[in-house]
């Protein structure tokens, strides 16, 4: 939003795709100008040159020209295809989720953004992120549709009730940037926003350590699982297990009654908690009650996070670059927007409290619990 760039009234470029979007924008401006100048010039020239000299003159009749029509159909078509292709490439970069990345949970609520880091830090209407790091937001909403929009990053995504949507970015410049809700959400829509703070990595680590506020999502999820919601009574394993096994399922295919399979991703886990009858795992009875109305979206994200940790999958909490060990994205690559992060991001295993992020002394780039599954 700041206007300190070389173009007046131009938004700051603060993410890796800002320049791509801007390049596309300037290309389109160029095309528009190149298209407009001849037309406007022709209108002015004809307007002056052929201005009525005598009332009710009858100018010579002219018929259309197939050649001209063909030319001015094909040229705009070719130009529009370059615009389409340019847009497609930029879009693909914007929405294909990176294999590694610091994962942050975002829950929209009339009219605030509730944000939770993997290290347990919670924020409202503020998001602190380190510079030069892939940050992946997993988002949902408690109520109506919202839209997480950061103009300086040139990206946004709707946050839709009843499902998870994803947004990623890699901020390139430390600073404070506007965060808006861009989808109309009711009374205080224009007040639903705040700032994204992009920090140097060291500053971010310091911020993290100074902001440990209670449980991490995995810890919170385990607490819900074992104590508050009692999921463990059926799902904890052992000979009495009545509910489906949860260890190691995340990111894998699960066999359902009737022979179908489903990829166990965040959306599947969410659905199985809220609407257990929708997809019954082979070998189990449809006896699980629904938890709809008993868990908030934030608790659901914590449960998803915990179940992911049972498979050794969780969002990294530091800006550990170079940790993209996994390459097994094949299963989900057919649909990058809804594809979940099925790659192995090395992290703490089950049981080990995922405290890494809250430890500012942990060397960056050296993930602990190096048991990288798959």
């Amino acid at each position: 939003m700041q206007t300190n760039s070389w173009v007046p009234f131009f938004p700051e470029q603060a993410s890796t795709f800002a320049w791509q979007v801007d390049a596309l924008y300037f290309y389109l401006i160029l095309v528009s100008v190149a298209f407009s100048i001849p037309i406007v010039a022709a209108i002015f020239y004809f307007g002056i040159r052929y201005r009525e000299k005598e009332k009710y003159a009858t100018p010579e009749e002219m018929h259309g020209s197939i050649v001209l029509e063909t030319v001015w159909s094909i040229i705009p078509f070719v130009i529009s295809m370059t615009i389409f292709l340019g847009g497609a490439i930029v879009f693909y970069n914007q929405y294909r989720l990176p294999e590694d990345g610091m994962e942050v949970y975002v829950v929209g609520k009339q009219w605030m953004w509730k944000i939770q880091h993997q290290g347990g830090q919670r924020e409202i209407n503020e998001l602190h992120v380190p510079v030069d790091t892939n940050v992946k937001l997993t988002m949902t909403t408690e109520d109506v549709i919202h839209d997480f929009s950061v103009p300086a990053f040139r990206t946004k995504t709707d946050v839709v009730p009843g499902r998870y949507t994803y947004l990623w970015f890699n901020a390139t410049k430390p600073g404070k940037y506007h965060l808006f809700c861009a989808e109309y959400c009711g009374l205080n829509h224009s007040g639903m926003g705040g700032y994204v703070y992009v920090m140097e990595k060291d500053d971010f680590a310091a911020w993290q350590s100074g902001n440990v506020s209670g449980q991490t999502p995995v810890e919170q999820g385990r607490d819900l699982f074992e104590n508050k919601l009692g999921c463990a009574s059926c799902h904890a394993g052992g000979p009495q297990q009545r509910g489906a096994k949860l260890e190691g399922i995340f990111g894998h295919e699960v066999k359902l009654v009737g022979g179908q399979t489903v990829a166990a991703d965040e959306a599947y886990i969410r659905e199985s908690i809220l609407n257990p009858g929708a997809k019954i795992v082979e070998g189990y009875q449809p006896i699980m009650p629904t938890f709809k109305g008993q868990v908030t979206e934030e608790q659901l994200l914590a449960l998803v996070s915990y179940i992911k940790s049972l498979s050794g999958v969780a969002g990294t909490t530091t800006s550990s670059t170079g940790s993209g060990a996994g390459g097994a994205t094949g299963a989900n690559s057919s649909n990058p927007v809804t594809a979940t992060n099925s790659t192995a991001v090395p992290t703490a295993n089950r049981g080990q409290a995922n405290r890494q992020g809250s430890n500012p002394n942990a060397p960056a780039g050296a993930p602990s619990g190096g048991n990288s599954n798959r």
């Binding site: 939003m1 131009f10 938004p11 596309l24 095309v31 528009s32 298209f35 407009s36 037309i39 022709a42 209108i43 004809f46 307007g47 052929y50 201005r51 009525e52 000299k53 009332k55 009710y56 009858t58 100018p59 010579e60 002219m62 259309g64 001209l68 029509e69 001015w72 159909s73 078509f77 529009s80 615009i83 389409f84 847009g87 879009f91 693909y92 914007q94 294909r96 009339q110 109520d143 109506v144 549709i145 839209d147 103009p151 946004k156 709707d158 839709v160 009730p161 949507t165 808006f180 809700c181 861009a182 109309y184 009711g186 205080n188 829509h189 224009s190 007040g191 649909n335 927007v337 809804t338």
Partner: protein
């Protein structure tokens, strides 16, 4: 008088009985089957809605003068932009050109006595009134704050405003569009005068025909969508709200399946009017008649395949997004073809810059910008940044106001002498046309820049650094407002004090200029027989140009 007999400017000695003087009781208006009287009643109704919508626009621009939400609370502001959108789109833009100019002129232009289904035509007016009254009732009860798009689950579960009354008003109003569209299609197929072949039809008629196709195919979908919305809101049946088992994106698909084609309902008729203006005021046969005619049909058809470009960031699969982006690029081509053909029509013409032509030229400039910024919004990598910002707001105002409203005003001026028999003040007409053009650009061009800076739509308050451009925009809106109000004054003034226009003030060959002004109830004294091609300005079309020149010389003296 008709066929290729010489036609003159036509100033009869004694006033003939015309559609306006044929019966003066209220009943003779309310129970009329005359398409021209129905058109006049539509004209009055849509104008009333236009000025109501305009008042909301004024209040929005006033609020946005300052970054804080100070003139109105955000709740009031939310209602203001919602109601601005609903009144302007459903009760002004969609009926404007078809129901007013189309109703009045389509039968005359094809040489028919009336529309094929005159009673249905009257019914569609009453449906429009009922829908409008229900909507106004909703607004007076307290209004609605969902945005004109009624996105779920906000509209079904969270908004506690008068969604039902307004939604049902729109539902009912939809049938008015459907019946008008149906009537036009039947009329064009069955009521053309002898010799009026398809390729002799004025391009205005082609555009109305294409619009009618969209109306009868698209409107039922939005009607069903609004009905489903009402069912969910009233009976809590889970259709769109995920907390009761629905899918909010389903609503967006259904809504835009109609509402994107509706965008073409809001611009195709304008293109038809502009084709008339450009050709007639250059006194030159339109360049590439068939290409303009078929590009209207192409737009109507492709318009049904691009609704997904409203859902690029809604969580739609990226491959669906890519397909919709591609189709959106394709739909730009027919518009470009029209643009080139209009420009080529001016070449070697004899261009008369009367008020209607100023509007026609203004349309070309504004639609050029509106169309090109449509490419920005169709390019999927760019639209992620631009969607839901003021860039979108500006783009669709360039297309709808710069397109449809400008064309509508041009058409009203062009056919005013035919509709009323009186000539308006050319001087004030030109002033207002230029004020509208300048005011419009001042209002909306800054919004493109605001949008690229990221200012979201539907914001009652905004960051302080965006204030300068918002002040420009609001200042421009006041110029635009003056430009829009002026025609009301001088057009009404002309009804009483205007000079008699004569049957053919512009000396043009179209069938509407071959009957008296205002036309008699049955349009023509005898059935016209068409022996000339469209847009022929020479002697072969039967225009008595010498007589017109003599008369002009006499009036100047």
């Amino acid at each position: 008088m008709q066929s290729a007999d010489a036609i003159s400017p036509g100033f009869p000695e004694t006033p003939k009985l015309n559609y306006l003087t044929n019966g003066s009781t209220l009943k003779s208006w309310l129970l009329t089957k005359d398409h021209k009287r129905i058109a006049i009643m539509y004209l009055i109704s849509v104008s009333a809605f236009f000025f109501m919508g305009g008042l909301y626009a004024a209040s929005i621009r006033l609020e946005l003068l300052t970054p804080a939400s100070d003139l109105m609370e955000s709740g009031t502001y939310n209602k203001a932009f919602t109601q601005h959108g609903i009144l302007m789109i459903f009760f002004f833009l969609i009926p404007s050109i078809p129901a007013v100019l189309g109703n009045f002129l389509l039968p005359i232009m094809i040489g028919a006595k009336d529309l094929a289904l005159p009673r249905i035509n009257l019914l569609s007016l009453y449906i429009y009134w009922v829908g409008g009254a229900l909507t106004l009732f909703g607004l007076m009860q307290g209004g609605v704050d969902t945005g004109w798009t009624f996105y779920t689950p906000y509209s079904t579960t969270f908004s506690n405003t008068y969604v039902m009354a307004v939604g049902l008003g729109i539902f009912i109003n939809g049938f008015s569009s459907i019946l008008t569209g149906l009537n036009f299609i039947v009329t064009v197929h069955t009521m053309r005068a002898p010799g009026m072949t398809w390729f002799r039809l004025p391009l205005f008629v082609w555009a109305q025909y294409a619009t009618s196709l969209v109306m009868i195919l698209g409107t039922p979908v939005v009607a069903i969508t609004v009905l489903l919305l009402a069912i969910e809101r009233f009976a809590r049946v889970g259709i769109f709200d995920p907390s009761i088992g629905g899918d909010p994106i389903l609503f967006q698909h259904m809504f835009w399946f109609y509402s994107h084609p509706a965008v073409y309902i809001m611009v195709l008729p304008g293109m038809g009017v502009v084709s008339e203006l450009i050709s007639n005021f250059s006194r030159k046969k339109i360049f590439g008649y068939e290409f303009i005619a078929f590009s209207s049909i192409a737009i109507a058809v492709f318009g049904f395949l691009v609704w997904g470009h409203h859902l690029f960031v809604s969580g739609q699969s990226i491959y669906a997004g890519l397909v919709f982006s591609f189709l959106t690029m394709v739909v730009a081509i027919p518009s470009a073809i029209k643009m080139f053909n209009w420009t080529a029509t001016l070449y070697k013409g004899s261009i008369d810059f009367s008020t209607p032509m100023l509007y026609g030229i203004g349309f070309m400039g504004l639609f050029l910008i509106g169309g090109l910024t449509g490419l920005f919004l169709g390019s999927i990598g760019l639209v992620v940044h631009l969607t839901d910002t003021y860039f979108v707001v500006s783009h669709f105002h360039y297309v709808m106001v710069g397109g449809q409203v400008i064309a509508y005003l041009g058409g009203i001026h062009y056919w005013w002498p035919k509709m009323t028999g009186k000539m308006y003040s050319e001087f004030w007409g030109k002033i207002s046309a230029m004020l509208v053009f300048i005011g419009f650009n001042l209002t909306f061009f800054p919004q493109f820049i605001l949008g690229y800076q990221g200012m979201p739509r539907r914001y009652a308050s905004y960051p302080a650094e965006l204030q300068v451009l918002n002040i420009f925009s609001s200042a421009g809106a006041s110029v635009l407002g003056v430009g829009m109000l002026m025609p009301v004054i001088y057009l009404l003034h002309s009804l009483v004090y205007g000079k008699p226009a004569g049957d053919n003030p512009w000396m043009l060959p179209g069938l509407e200029w071959r009957t008296s002004s205002p036309p008699p109830t049955e349009n023509f004294e005898k059935m016209p027989v068409v022996t000339w091609e469209a847009y022929e300005f020479g002697e072969e079309s039967g225009l008595d140009l010498e007589e017109a020149r003599r008369r002009d010389a006499a009036t100047v003296r």
